[in-house]
C-alpha cells in the first residue's frame, strides 16, 4: 500500500510540474484559529489542515492562480442540553467542522531582496463547511456551501532560485448562506514553495 502511495505521489508530481513557466506551487501546513460564529461552535485551535496553491506570474510582481485546501476543527463538549420543542437531549458531544476552500487568488509580491519577498494576496471563491455533531447514537451532518474570501499577508523566504518557504497569515470569511451563518477563522500557513522560472 505504502509503495503505491509513493508511486501515486510521484506520478501526480510529475504531471503537475510539466510545462510550467514563471509560476509557483505551494504546499502549506495550516493551523486554524476559529473566530466569530465559528468560535461559538468550536473555539479550539487546530493543526489539522493543509492548503495547495498554484500561482502564475503575469508580471514581475503580480501573480494569479488558485487555492484548494482542507482544515478540520474539533471540540468535545460536556453537560450541554439540546432542547427542541418538548424533547431534551444531553450527553457528551463531539463537534467537527471540516472546511474546504476553493478559491481564485491574486497576489502582489514585493521583492525587497532575493531572500525575503513579502506579499499580499486576496482569494475569492467558495468554502464548503461541513458540520458534524455526534452524540451517542445521534449524529447530524450538514454541508453548507458559502461565498468566501480571504485576504493574506506573508512572505516568501527564498534561499535559491527554485525553492522557497512561505510564512503567511490568512483570514477566511464567508457570508451567510447554505443554511449557516457566516463563518470565519484565522489561518497560519507554513509552506514549501516550488518556483519555475
Amino acid at each position: 500500500m505504502k509503495k503505491y502511495l509513493i508511486l501515486f505521489c510521484l506520478l501526480v508530481g510529475l504531471g503537475l510540474t510539466a510545462n510550467a513557466q514563471r509560476s509557483l506551487y505551494s504546499f502549506n501546513y495550516v493551523v486554524t484559529a476559529p473566530t466569530g460564529n465559528t468560535a461559538d461552535f468550536i473555539d479550539v485551535v487546530s493543526g489539522r489542515g493543509f492548503a495547495f496553491e498554484y500561482q502564475k506570474f503575469i508580471s514581475d510582481h503580480i501573480a494569479i492562480g488558485g487555492e484548494v485546501g482542507h482544515s478540520t476543527i474539533f471540540k468535545r463538549t460536556e453537560n450541554e442540553l439540546y432542547t427542541r420543542e418538548t424533547a431534551t437531549l444531553s450527553g457528551i458531544q463531539y463537534r467537527y467542522q471540516y472546511s474546504y476552500p476553493i478559491m481564485a487568488t491574486g497576489a502582489y509580491y514585493h521583492s525587497f531582496t532575493d531572500l525575503i519577498r513579502p506579499y499580499v494576496s486576496l482569494g475569492i471563491g467558495t468554502i464548503a463547511n461541513k458540520r458534524t455533531i455526534e452524540m451517542g447514537m445521534y449524529r447530524s451532518e450538514d454541508t453548507h456551501w458559502q461565498f468566501g474570501f480571504r485576504p493574506e499577508i506573508g512572505t516568501l523566504i527564498q534561499p535559491s532560485d527554485n525553492v522557497a518557504f512561505r510564512i503567511g497569515a490568512k483570514y477566511y470569511g464567508t457570508l451567510e448562506g447554505g443554511g449557516l451563518e457566516g463563518q470565519s477563522n484565522l489561518s497560519f500557513n507554513i509552506g514549501l514553495v516550488i518556483l519555475n522560472n
Partner: protein, 211 residues
Amino acid sequence: MIKFVKRISFGLLLVSGLIACSPEGATFVEEQDVVYTNYNPAFDFKSQSTYSLPDEVISISNGGIAGDSEVPEFLPPQFANPILATLRSNMNALGYREVDESASPDIVLLPSALQTTEVYYYYDWWYWNWYYPGGGGGWYYPGYYPPTVTAVRSGSVFVQMTNPKDVSGSNEVAVNWIAIVNGLLEGEGNGADRIDRTLDQAFTQSPYLQK
C-alpha cells in the same frame, strides 16, 4: 534536486491530508451515554401527588410479540436495583409520594431495559400485564412524538411515566413523560455509578416534573 523536493512535497501534502481527516472521537463506552427525555406539555405534573414503582425492571427483547409465560424476563438485581433506587429517590425529591399500585396512584413508572437495537415505543402490553393497575392494552404519547431512532445500542434503559387514569377509547394508556438512556447497561466498569448519574440527569433536564 528540484524534482526530488517536488515529489517529497506531494507526499507531505497527502500525509497532511490524512491527518486532517481523522480527528479523535469517543473512546470509552460511557462517553456515548445520551439521555433523551420528552413529555406531554398539556399534562399538569404539579397536580399529581402519588406514584407507584414496580419491584422489577422488565427486559424487552422483542417489542411486538407476546411471550408464552405469565411474566416477562426481568433484569438481574445488580442492574435493576440501582435503576429502581434512582427512580425512587428522584421522584421522592420532586415531592411525589410512593404508594402501592393497588392504592390508585396518579402516576405509574415503568422501567424497562431494551435488549434490542431498536426502541419499541409501542411494545406489547403483555410485558406489564402482571403489574399494571387498572389494566390497559397499549400506549399512546399525547402531545409529543417519541424520537425516530433507527439504531440504538443494546442495553438502553427506557422509562415511561404513565397515567392509569387516562386510558383512551382504544384502551391505550397515556405516557406523559419518557426517558431513554442510551447504552446504559453496555460496557464495563462501575455500572451503578453510570445508572445514578444518567438517570439523575434525566430528571435534572426535566424541570417541569417538579411539584
